[in-house]
Amino acid sequence: MTKNDTAKNGRRKNGVSYAKWGYIFIIPFFVVYLCFTLAPQFLTIYNSFFESYRVGLTQVGPNFVGIENYKTLFSPDSSGVILVLKYALNTFVLWILGAVPQFVIALLLAIFFTSYRLNIKGQGFFKTVIYMPNLIMAAAFSMLFYTLFSRVGPIQALLEHWGWIDASFDFFSKQVTVRGMIALMNFLMWFGNTTIVLMAGIMGIDQALFESATIDGANAVQVFFRVTMPLLMPIFVYCLITAMIGGIQMFDVPQVLTNGKGVPNEMTRTLVMYLNGYLTNKNYGMAGAISVFIFVVTGILSGFVYKSLVAQYKDPQRKHRERKGNVL
């Protein structure tokens, strides 16, 4: 409070208050945010308490049903499966399959690129190449994978030619191959981005810390776990959270790859694909309930991961910060 006041007084140099300009400049943002995000957000939540869907051409509802949609969402279907949890698990599995190699490789590359001892040449080229898939339209990338891996595609032909698979093999009939393709695409699209961000993080660490650790006799592994990792933690956590939130939104890749069907046996259907299904069928009650569910999951996950990871590395981090005077 006091800090705020002094800042305010400090800047009112010639006795004129410019405060109103601050408000004026942020008005467009907030008007648009209110109209196109916040109001729709509340409308979405509101919808989740109503029964509203279509059977053929007749519209049922909207009728207020309380938490009935949420009950339906979390009750098992005829075969005893709670669909939303199944799709949440699918989403998580698809994400983790891509995220584990993404973070391991990105961390490795970030260390390679920043190592003076290794002195890797052609970094600009490598970075340009590995970041490229991040900018590619996910829908087009996914369509490309479909064409390349389909029954009549070149990959199938090549592997048959090599005798690795026979003609009856279908990449799109097995859970492991479809999930593998989605994970591979997600990996390719994101590991370059993570590498670049982690690299910047490592370069932000004071070089003297690495030197003194080495002089003290620490080997490369020790330097990594005792110096690099603790100091990199805030950025690593940031990457992890954004990746996770991106993962919850996973849609374009599995949607286009499986033509919205989540083949095989809906084992690659994600939460947002589930939402999209209800949105296109105009079942707004259920779509609302799923939206709220995704909203809540996003909030919990980001808070949880952030807290647990920061707590784990808090002490060494603080020590280093005090010594160096806030390196990050």
């Binding site: 942020i26 064409t147 390349l148 070149p154 030619h161 374009d252 996003t298």
Partner: protein
Amino acid sequence: MSRKLDDNTRGRIKLIVLRVIVYLILIFLTVLCLFFFYLMIINATRSNAQLAAGFTLLPKENFFRNLVNAWTDTSINIPRGMLNSLIIALSSAALTTYFSALTAYGIHAYEFRGKRAIFTFIIAIMMIPAQVSALGFVQMMNKLHLTNSYIPLIVPSIAAPVVFFYMKQYMESVLPLDVIDAARVDGSGEFRTFNTIVLPMLKPAIAVQMIFSFVSSWNNYFVPALLLDKAEMKTVPIMIAQLRSADYSKFDMGKVYMFILLAILPVMITYILLSKSIIKGVTSGSVKG
């Protein structure tokens, strides 16, 4: 635990081996990243019959035939789709950078009540995915008869918390408040100061964010697919998804590869020309976490 400082040659051999391994990993990843796109380009040069013959790494001569076939296709109007996507992406990029800079400037340069709370609020909503409000958004656009219109795909980009945050951070590093005071002394109005003095100083940040917002708008699929169902309004990602759901066996595969190539071409060209500044933009945007 004696230090082996004297063991020079062993250390050097170790380093060489390590370097070889690192380069092998890098080459493998490079090949993996480029392989699928290379196949796409090669396959876009082959006719349907040539494609049916199987796998090859060598180009054929049918590139222009495929291009003409794809460009003039009647069921998937790719030139129109690209025009729609271009209009939406360019307008979004312009609006999002200008207004994010304006908002960030409002927070950065002025002191007013509730400023801190507003800043925290914007940071808090940064994490909320667009999908969770899509239902209400689509419903509202239906009510306002704004489906099959550019407006709901362009105007919301005015409120982009991520771009705002980037601009705010950029201003902290390049925009001293003295400059603004000096402009005031010279009698410049607040709005004019922003447009003529502050904006030019933000040029690098604006350029980078324009590219990123152009790309994300060009690639955006979820919301546009819910709003656009008229053929002449569809954007490129919707057309690509349409390609996937069409009866595949009847398609000229050369044309399919050409469609995919066209869908990613504008972004690819931008990237090839500007990769250096784009990669720089990735880092400076998120380092502070």
